[in-house]
């Protein structure tokens, strides 16, 4: 298992290095090492998945074991012994009734190893990431054909897959942060891949900076975790003193020892702060509401990148992180300062609110965009909102549903992006839906696969999006119901409104998805001039991944839904086997038929509206846009968020910077020069004494002598 775990990230890295070194020689073959490496990683991931599944669900495992995890440490990143003793005893602010074996007060070591872990969550993420990456790499070989930076592209892709697989398999917060930023850097490089395009270069920078704002929160969260828990490892670590042979175990933040007793988690305001800051980090990476602005701009990158990084994998890192940290979110409940009417809010509620709001908000923007890739980008934001809603809701069913949606979304959204890329490829780089239409005859394969993706995304009944989205909505519905039963009215109201928000967003999803589909593939055939001789179906290398993905997009939801193994496997992740979460697990839960019915109806409604407005002459759409002028413009201009941020943050910072520079040049340097001017001024005063006359100097000497003699004579006692 160790070898598998190491090889999965190592192969893409090796491929990337190989291509980076010999890319100029490999030329058009540069995709081969990467495709082979990632493909092998994918196979290995499936092996790993199988092995972990066998071990995790092994009935011989002790019943009281908290989940299943396996770690392997490659080398020590940093180990600073005995540097810190957390001030407050752990386990404060915990619900009473749990015995609190407070750990002995002692100095904690800052001990960070390059440690990889295998647990169900990691395995699922690994398999998904490597699988989608393999397909996208193959697709990219067709899409990027003939590009000047062919080898550079694949080197970056290899680097990205390495970082992403590491991100989901490392076992401490520091390395999570490391690869969290590393995927951001790969995204920066890939978004700015066509660096000669100013908009691409700017988009790359924006993506990086907005992510940095999120990482600001993430970093502070890490410092808080360190300051409170005295460790940053997920797993429990044991160090044996080589002199005394005494072993000393440090509980990891999410280690099995700590998970066994909820009282060992830090509670109170600190926990709340940790979770909110983690959420800020997750919002940055997963493009949630306050920090979503970078993702649409990131569409400047090559389309395979959009499919891989900005739809399927990297942006789900936030969801992964929140899922991984579920126990921390659970522990954040019960801060007196944060109350929602009658019930204390935990940070999960905040995540759910952000997710629900973003799902709706991004859906509203997506309705009016003309750029097909931007529609998909906002749709990604919206779907990530669903996942946040799921993991924020915090019951086992909701978290599993969130992860379920993550998987299905990875398939159908990368399918949609790749389809859009196929269109873009044929249209000579044009992706504005006003410039083309009726491509169904020109590109039949793309059209069909895209349709499958659209159906899956809009949640039409038998397709995968239907099941996963319904699972989330059903879990939210249950939580609302449950809270109301417990008498937490406000909380019940919150979740039922989130449920309805999700439902409305589902209608919007169906609408904008099919709006895009109809505008692109239906109607009269129209091809822009830029297309030139490219206007034909894409090569086999691109369509085959589309077909494979469409099979998955169509069926994986149903498979997972009717086969309960997914939930059963995922709940053996240590973080989810945490008692307060595990208690909410219901084996073989009844499907939410009512929710399903409502949402199928919503999906059909959305598709119907889209068909009514955009099939045919589009006159109604134009009419509506004119009648709803201000609302339309608000949506079209993305609620002016970019402009607001510009005015609120960017511009003041610039002004402050300019002011600082003026200050620096004049005031601070001026003060320094003033000090430097004092001796010069003194010199100017004494300058007139320098007459050049010999007699004057002689006189001065005599006078000086006289003064000396006088001092000697007059000095008392001298």
């Amino acid at each position: 298992m160790d070898t598998l775990l190491i090889l999965i990230p190592a192969l893409p890295l090796a491929g990337a290095i190989l291509v980076a070194l010999f890319g100029r020689q490999l030329k058009e073959l540069s995709h081969l090492p990467i495709a082979v490496a990632i493909g092998t990683s994918c196979v290995l991931s499936l092996f790993l998945l199988n092995e972990v599944n066998q071990k995790a669900t092994d009935p011989a495992r002790p019943a009281n074991a908290v989940g299943y995890e396996h770690t392997v440490t490659l080398w020590t990143w940093a180990d600073l012994p005995d540097v810190y003793q957390p001030p407050a005893p752990l386990g404060a602010n915990q619900p009473e009734g749990t015995a609190t074996p407070s750990p002995a007060a002692r100095d904690y070591s800052f001990d960070i190893g390059v440690t990889l872990r295998a647990d169900p969550l990691t395995c699922i993420m690994l398999s998904m990431v490597t699988f989608v990456s393999t397909l996208v790499t193959i697709y990219g070989a067709g899409y990027m054909h003939g590009d000047r930076g062919y080898w550079r592209f694949f080197a970056y892709i290899g680097l990205f897959v390495f970082s992403m697989t590491m991100l989901v398999s490392v076992s401490n917060f520091v390395l999570l942060y490391v690869f969290w930023e590393a995927v951001g850097a790969c995204s920066y490089l890939l978004v700015g891949f066509w660096y000669e395009k100013p908009s691409a270069a700017a988009a790359g920078k924006k993506a990086f900076l907005v992510n940095r704002v999120g990482d600001f929160g993430f970093a502070l969260a890490l410092f808080l975790i360190w300051s409170n828990y005295g460790t940053l490892n997920f797993h429990d670590t044991t160090i044996t003193n080589t002199v005394t042979q005494v072993s000393e175990t440090t509980m990891g933040v999410l280690g099995q020892m700590r998970l066994a007793d909820p009282a060992l988690f830090v509670g109170g305001g600190a926990a709340m702060a940790i979770c909110l800051l983690l959420t800020l980090g997750a919002c940055g990476k997963s493009a949630q509401f306050p920090l979503h602005v970078w993702l649409p701009d990131a569409m400047e990158g090559p389309t395979p990148v959009s499919a891989l990084i900005h739809a399927a994998t990297m942006v789900t890192a936030g969801v992964y992180m929140v899922t991984r940290c579920t126990p921390l979110f659970v522990a954040s409940a019960g801060v007196p300062a944060f109350h929602l009417g009658d019930y204390p809010v935990d940070a999960g509620d905040v995540v759910a609110i952000i997710g629900g709001f973003t799902a709706l908000f991004a859906g509203l923007i997506a309705m009016t965009q003309h750029d097909l890739k931007r529609v998909l980008a906002y749709s990604t934001i919206s779907q990530l909102g669903y996942m946040f809603l799921g993991v924020g809701t915090g019951t086992m069913a909701a978290i599993v549903a969130g992860m379920f949606h993550l998987i299905t979304h990875a398939f159908f959204k990368s399918l949609l992006f790749l389809g859009a890329g196929s269109v873009m490829h044929a249209m000579g780089g044009i992706i504005d839906m006003r410039k083309f239409s009726g491509l169904r005859h020109l590109m039949p394969v793309t059209c069909l696969t895209f349709l499958v993706g659209c159906l899956a995304l809009s949640g039409a009944p038998p397709f995968s999006g239907f099941f996963s989205k319904d699972d989330i909505l059903g879990a939210v519905h249950d939580k609302a119901h449950h809270a109301a039963e417990l008498g937490h009215t406000m909380r019940g109201n919150l979740y039922s409104s989130l449920y309805w928000v999700g439902m409305i967003a589902a209608i919007l999803t169906a609408f904008y998805t099919f709006r895009g589909f109809f505008l692109t593939f239906m109607g009269p055939e129209k091809i822009p001039a830029e297309a030139g001789h490219h206007a034909h179906e894409s090569p086999r290398m691109m369509t085959v991944p589309l077909m494979i993905l469409s099979v998955f997009a169509a069926f994986i939801g149903g498979v997972f839904f009717f086969w309960h193994g997914f939930a059963d496997f995922l709940r053996r992740t240590p973080s989810l086997a945490f008692k307060p979460v595990a208690d909410t697990f219901v084996a073989h839960a009844e499907p939410h038929w009512d929710v399903m019915l409502t949402s199928s109806f919503g999906a059909l409604l959305g598709i119907g509206i889209a068909a009514y407005l955009y099939l045919g002459k589009n006159t109604e759409a134009k009419f509506l846009a004119e009648r709803l002028g201000p609302l339309y413009r608000l949506s079209y201009n993305k609620f002016y968020i970019d402009e607001i941020y510009n005015a609120l943050f960017v511009l003041p910072t610039w002004l402050l910077a300019k002011l600082s520079y003026v200050l620096d040049q004049n005031v601070i340097d001026g003060l320094v020069n003033l000090v430097g001017w004092i001796p010069r001024f003194g010199g100017r005063l004494l300058r007139s004494l320098q007459t050049g006359m010999v007699q004057f100097y002689a006189l001065a000497m005599v006078l000086g002598l006289l003064v000396l003699i006088a001092a000697l004579v007059i000095r008392p006692g001298g």
Binding site: Y84, F110, F179, Y195, K205, F216, L222, G429, T653, Y661
Partner: protein, 592 residues
Amino acid sequence: MDNWLNILLILTVMLPVAGALLVWLLGWSGRTDIRPLALAVSLVTLGLTGWIISCYPGGGKELAVSNFSWLGGPDSIVNIRFSLGLDGLGLWLFGLSSLLTLTAILVSWEAITERRTAFFGLLLLLETGMLGVFTARDIILFYIFFEFTLIPLFFLIGIWGSEDRRYAAVKFFVFTLAGSLLTFLSLLAIVLWNYTATGQMTFMIGELVAGLQQHPMDASLQLWVFLGLFAGFAIKVPLFPLHTWLPLAHTQAPTAGSVILAGILLKIGTYGFLRFSLPMLPDGTAVCTPWILWLSVIGIIYGALVALVQTDFKRLIAYSSVSHLGFCMLGIFALNSLGMEGGTLQMINHGLSTGGLFACVGMIYERYHTRQISEFGGLARRLPFLAFFTLVFTFSSIGLPGMNGFAGEFLLLAGMFQRGWSESPEQLGTQFMWIAVLAVSGVVLGAWYMLYMIQRIFFGPLKEPEVHLDHGHHDHGPASPAGTTAHGTSAHDSHAHDTHGHGAIATLPPGVPDLKLREFFALAPLVVFVFWIGLYPEFFLRSIRPNVVDLFPPAARDLYKNYGDPIKRPYVEPLDEAIANAGPAHSKEAAQ
């Protein structure tokens, strides 16, 4: 014990001086090309440095300590000794000095066309100064090397600098000297206090530390002595608001000067704080800590903001140095092991990444003879390899994980935050937490100005200033490796066909050459260390740690908390050697 090692250390430190003399001797007529000689000397020095470092046993030991009578003698009242030695604090900075001198020599290879002999001689002289500062074990010897670094750099800036070089050189010199004279007074005060307290006149740093820990100075005197040291070291660092000489000096200095100034000379300030202020003057340190922390964090934000609006790339990087050195100071004055180790590591990181950045922009300057960012655009097309290296150093400098900047920044910020969290007067703790939070926001700003610069210079449509293509070549001697262009741009252009029509220029008109082999070798070693420190910082921390912990024994932690009420710090015996030998991770039991 290691007799041959201390001879080797002296040889290493003195070799560049000998090299400089030889360079001047041979190059006096101006006919001989002395560059290979200078290169050879620096290479040998680097090799010897590497050798010595590889012999370092770790565990806080001092390596290769030599001790000769120098001025005065054991029986006279003044007993200044010629004593060199290496410990964990200076170890990596010592290595970095050699490494960056090599880079400096390589980047000046063709950039310097006038008075080459004098230039390379001065560079070697400077190397001795730097190596000496980090190895000196005698307080006077330290001070001599400390000042000795000034003189060669003064000439480097004043003679080979850009348009405003005289002003910059004088300002640099006078500013730094003014501070360091006060430092000298403080150093003398330390020696004299030790003399009155122990009755023994010694200038050895180790003995002074022991003496001052046993007989601490009066708290009020400590404050004054601390401020005296602060004057010299803070200007050297430079701490806001004493930084204004730095952008000027960097902008005007030749590339080699900038590389060394940013890479090494600034670290002498932080090194001075670690070596003298912290262990010798705990009360003064404790009183000044909040002030210094605030100045550091203001410097972080302020330097970043000012860097954001720069139009001159060397000046931009210079202000980024102000910001980054703020991080180093923050770490050191977090006064806990996490922060101080992070700060010490960050000193090396900054030397690598900013040194590398200065080398990179120097190469651009050498090609185009302008420093205005607005005159450039899309250079990644013209200079892909240079763009790659610049990007690596940029990422390293903005603290991208996996590279060195992150390792240092993360540790020191964690240390700072931890300090705030566990500080006992809660008000002060809150203050420190705010400092940490502001410092983290400086990381965001750091990414902003650096990536903005990269975007303007390397991305976008190709735009370059007018150059005479043979400009860089007309002054080459026949032996110069001008023709060895390692990686032409032609290979990169073979796939000019761009299906997506993203505004690519199909074929590139001839222009300045990309990275030459010589320039590649100037940058590549730095990149190796950038990744080495980033991926395996423990390797470096391991040897730094015991000395940092020594500076700051755990018992003093309580002292630093009660900053308003200085207490006499009990002298803590160094850890038992056996335990120190057992390795860094495993001394828990004994320490308790």
